[in-house]
Symmetry: C2
DNA sequence: CTGTTAGCGCATTCAT
DNA sequence: ATGAATGCGCTAACAG
């Protein structure tokens, strides 16, 4: 039962020094004679001493941890971003406290609870489009915040341009001689959904294509939603079928392909299909898609956050990461 | 710049009470007159007071957080388990500190660092098969630990029986008149890989089937690995082809299907295929597979962990969760 | 019921 | 270079 109750006083006593000295060797202070340092180090090992982080945190007034806020919708995208976040955090030995905050509930209250708890030194929020009125409180709190996959003029933000990505996809389709293009969107209430729609419209305009509302669908970003939307489209008279469809997610694209397959249709010959995300399976299903630098997004977000925490950032950092079109076989 | 420097002393003074009383209302002690409680509450609101968790933690000698340790291989399985973990934790308002610990590095040192840091009250480890020699140190530390997706006689563990799952899959195949069955395994060095292989062998023996080593492959759990293994199998003389293949993961099954498709083969008519995991896409690709109760696994793991932390567990809790075969179209 | 005191374990002046 | 004292913000006896 010799529980680890050993603290600085114990090692100080045994090493015959003051607790101040022990604290100094703990923090690698250079103002410690080599001999004493060595002696203290020995005693620490002997007693199997470990500093109590809780006490350190309180004394230092910092938590050595950051909060990572993700929407409940945890899919491939977030996992990849999380990997980047985790790696970046581990490099600095900072704890990652994961919070799931749904979009519908009173997010700001939850966030402010986190802020006031003092358990984190900063916050990285993924895909959280917070309104201007909401963010005032957060801004006032002074806690470092970085938005990943979201732009805000008020916070450091690393983001992707959904509009550009969608535009890129449709441009590609048009350049491959498609002029009847369907767009199967994700949640139209999300910023992403809206921006991707805007990108589609922009490309249409640019190429003088008219929008056929019967070919513009929205739902959610799941495979099932893509499947249903495509089914509806394929119920239209054959003459109204699109020659290509752009899905707002690879999962939806997979649903689309399935709906086509059930009708004996193949991509790209019957109808071309292009997705968004470049999930691992897109590769195996050979889906042409838009790739997003997810890992980099997470990694950079943390780099910036840590800089902000250290006070090394004098102005708001804004950075757009580049998307890439991955050409495969479905379009 | 009226930063949130307000502490119990401030509210105590303004409310004209002692800090003890403030602390009591903070902790919902019943020994506080309604009037004083009300007064204190008002002052707290007025001053926008929030307790400093760091200080609370130190004073209480508990972190109000648990560490969740996951292998670097973060895929669908872990995400689902994580959801269960997160939900269970949120119900109790406990923080989730996420640690990624690779299987190769000196895991135990990292884990013991976490233990000694005092920043968590307990540990939930996913898919961490720790050896007996290793776990001694962890056991001695006395910190509550629960293993999810892993069995150990020394720790609380919620686990799945891979052997049974694999056996179930092969049994199913045999019952559908297959007697030349290939097994495409994941990492043979992992406990999962070994157990699934054992399950396959058990079913083979049960049915008096002879093992053809040319039809037993291993690699990793990714789609690409399944693809390659299946390609190798399809390079065998046609007479040696299996009539069915059991893949140790849905991702591998998808790779298998792709390899087949490239040869113009279809499931289940040419070769039946069965996977493992029941990822979302297995549904859309209509892959017959073995379902694992991932969410429940995570949720229950935390329930048990929290009980252990509260000291409500007198003996080691061991629970096997049931697997289910999801019959779809590839087998 | 409530105020006071003493830790929790460590960081950090301030002298020496 | 180092020891002693003070504080971080809160909890938990201990008196009253």
């Amino acid at each position: 039962m010799s529980k680890n109750k050993v603290n600085i006083y114990d090692v100080a006593e045994k090493a015959d020094v003051g607790i101040g000295t022990v604290s100094r060797v703990l923090n690698n202070s250079d103002k410690v004679k080599d001999n004493t340092r060595k002696k203290v180090l020995e005693v620490m090992k002997e007693l199997n001493y470990r500093p109590n982080k809780l006490a350190q945190n309180l004394a230092r007034q910092k938590a050595n941890a950051v909060a990572v806020i993700v929407p409940s919708f945890i899919d491939h995208f977030f996992v990849e971003v999380l990997k980047g976040i985790q790696d970046a955090l581990e490099e600095e030995n900072i704890d990652l406290i994961l919070h799931k905050i749904d979009l519908n509930e009173n997010r700001m209250k939850k966030i402010m609870d986190i802020v006031h708890s003092r358990k984190v030194d900063g916050i990285a929020a993924l895909t959280m489009d917070i309104s201007d009125t909401e963010n005032q409180e957060l801004k006032d709190s002074g806690i470092p915040v970085v938005l990943a996959d979201e732009f805000s003029a008020d916070f450091h933000s690393i983001y992707l341009d959904d509009l550009k990505g969608a535009e890129m996809a449709v441009d590609y389709l048009v350049n491959h001689n498609h002029n009847k293009i369907a767009f199967i969107n994700g949640d139209i209430n999300s910023l992403h959904g809206q921006k991707r729609l805007a990108g589609v419209k922009k490309s249409f305009q640019k190429h003088n294509l008219k929008i056929n509302t019967a070919l513009i669908k929205d739902g959610d970003f799941y495979a099932e939603d893509g499947y249903q939307s495509m089914q509806e489209i394929l119920e239209l008279p054959r003459t109204e079928w699109p020659s290509a469809v752009f899905a707002a997610s690879d999962n939806q694209a997979i649903g689309v392909l399935q709906a086509m397959e059930e009708k004996g249709l193949k991509a790209p010959d019957d109808i071309a299909v292009i997705g968004y995300d470049n999930i691992e399976l897109a590769k195996y299903l050979k889906i042409t898609t838009v790739w997003q630098p997810m890992y980099q997004l997470g990694h950079l977000a943390i780099e910036i956050l840590l800089k902000a925490i250290k006070g090394e950032l004098n102005e708001i950092y804004q950075k757009e990461l580049e998307l890439k079109l991955v050409k495969r076989e479905t379009a």
